[in-house]
Amino acid sequence: MAELTLVQEHPVSATARGSSLRRLARTDAFFHGLTRAAALAVLGVLMGVILALVIGAWPALSHFGFSFLVSQSWNPVTEKFGALAPIFGTIITSAIAMLFAVPIGIGVAIFLTEICPPLLRRPVGIAIELLAGIPSIIYGIWGLFVLAPLLQRTIQPFLIDLFGNVPLLSSLFAGPPYGIGVLTASIVLAIMILPFITSITRDVFEQVPPMLKEAAFGLGCTTREVIRKVVIPYTRVGVTGGCMLALGRALGETMAVTFVIGNAHKINASLLAPGTTISATIANEFTEAVGDLYTSALIALGLLLFVITFIVLAIARVMLARVARKAGK
């Protein structure tokens, strides 16, 4: 910048102008190289992680083959490992967490941008963002010592009684109320990902041109109609993106889930029963995993989590592309 103004202010000879231009070109080239190196470094790290995971996971994957994906058994004594229970737990807890967090998160964002009195807007917004700043271990401790006993005494017995005689639902809410389990983990996860959904959707809602909204109001739309017919269709891509980011976080969350999920390598129909997730299994067992096959099986779990996250991101991309195409028509 400094050179540029210098050149403009003083009439200088052609050679001087040429040399300063060359200098600018050099710094430009240097800057290009620097940013490209940064981008390539990220790719390099990513490839390195994939390579390390595949190499580490290979002994287990080649030993168990396809049965690693479909077997429920996780027995360190006989060294028989199958990843189905952790995969199931990871997906089910994240899905239930999204079920809770998406409507609430979007609801909060709508309230903040469209309905909330301006005086309340900042404090509520900051409170939501503070939720995102709480370390996950704190959520874990809170879940174990506060939420779990509460659920055990109140909501879980209520659910068991309520659905005790309803077919299908009775098996979904069966068993003794342990307090911790799949449902508790899902609730903690929902609270953890809520701020992501809210802050991103709030930001995109604020991007809606006031003209569109004013026009809708002018046509006699109610607030609800404006939100449903104008705000949400306009921001669909951004909202989906925010939700996917939250889902990515839910899939990989480790510490808080480890505390409250019950860590049992079993697939149970009941949401109140203990389960496990991929990241919780790795966190629990890595330090004491003696034996190469055991360690390798844990690394293979890590690789699977990587693949699942990748699939989720890919689905999100496809969905976004489809939404964009529809909107284009």
Partner: protein, 352 residues
């Protein structure tokens, strides 16, 4: 501005130099492994540093990590709660020796039961953890406790979710007393639990047992004692119902035949002796027979030698059980016989 920059820079240089100086002055003994003995190693290290000026850098990363690190020779000693079998030791050129002992205690949360009131035996404990005995007023439990008031509540089993030496000792005991357990589950630092919920660490098990009515779990003795948990009594091999105490653990160590077991491969579960608590175990140190750095290995041995000689009281304060003198003598002999420098001579002569 410039002045303060210079001041800042010189301060940084001084700090770096100071850091370098301390790094050179104290060539700390380095070790890594089990979390269970970490408090006592830390206490010993503190006292040892005050006395000799030599420090110990111990990373409590878990037994599995300790075994891996000593095999990779990144530390001078590794620590494990699960002893390696003699052939595994030979394969890696390692020796092992026990440092302190501890016990594992079943803890329960049954309304109306006081600490030590409930009596269980091995077979019943095995059946509870297998999911065969599911109610507190089951005939098997009633038979052992004719006078106790037992509720008809369901039993909620709580076990460790992380791999742990505590789990190894506990499952080893169950394998010895319950053929069905040995058959279906077996013994290891982590097993495929038939029933129950997993909680992380002693504190996780204690927390879950504390807040779940009708639950049973198992924790390290020191943990149960310090938190005043409702422990059970157990029927030992001699048929006596015993309380978990330091004395009962020592009785179990006395019942074991250390001299005959190669590589100190002794697990103190279901040992004979009228006063013996049936679920006890030692924690172990692993070292190379031909250390890469004999000076560092000698320094580590000096530390453990000092700990056997002067550390018993500190261990008792933290509710660990020191090794009997007869075992310490055997350990000293093993050091002299097996850990050798490049010249083939022992690198450390025990004080014992």
């Amino acid at each position: 501005m410039k002045l303060s920059m210079i001041a800042l820079r010189s301060a940084a240089v001084a700090a770096a130099a100071a850091g370098f100086a301390t790094a050179v002055a104290a060539a700390d003994i380095s070790g890594a492994g089990a979390t269970f003995p970490y408090p006592i190693y830390a206490k010993w290290a503190d006292a040892y540093k005050k006395e000799t000026g030599n420090g110990l850098n111990y990373q409590s990363i878990g037994s599995g990590g300790g075994i891996k690190q000593i095999q990779a020779k990144t530390v001078t000693f590794g620590a494990s709660d699960m002893p390696l079998k003699p052939d595994e030791l030979d394969k890696s050129g390692l020796i092992q020796f026990p440092t302190v002992m501890g016990g594992v205690v079943p803890v329960v949360n049954v309304p109306g039961l006081k600490p030590g009131e409930l009596v269980l035996d091995g077979a019943t404990l095995g059946d509870i953890f297998l999911g065969k005995v599911t109610k507190w007023d089951d005939a098997a439990i009633k038979k052992l406790n004719p006078n106790a008031k037992l509720p008809g509540q369901a039993i909620a089993v709580v076990h460790r979710s992380d791999g742990s030496g505590t789990t190894f000792i506990f499952t080893d005991y169950l394998s010895k007393v319950s053929p069905a357990w040995k058959d279906k589950v077996g013994a290891a630092t982590a097993v495929e639990w038939p029933v129950g919920i997993g909680a992380k660490g002693n504190e996780g098990v204690a927390g879950n047992v504390g807040q779940t009515g009708g639950s049973i779990g198992y924790v390290e003795y020191a943990y149960a004692k310090q938190n005043k948990m409702t422990h059970t009594r157990l029927v030992n091999l001699d048929g006596k119902a015993v309380e978990p105490t330091a004395k009962a653990f020592q009785a179990s160590a006395a019942g074991a035949d250390w001299a005959k077991s190669q590589g100190f491969y002794v697990i103190l579960t279901n040992e004979k002796g009228a006063d013996a608590w049936p679920i006890a175990g030692a924690t172990f140190i692993l070292m190379h027979k031909q250390p890469q750095d004999p000076a560092a290995a000698a320094e580590a041995l000096r530390f453990f030698d000092w700990a056997y000689a002067k550390g018993d009281k500190m261990a008792e304060e933290l509710d660990y059980v020191p090794m009997p003198d007869s075992v310490v003598k055997l350990i000293g002999k093993t050091w002299a016989d097996q850990i050798k420098g490049k010249d083939g001579k022992p690198i450390h002569a025990s004080m014992m």
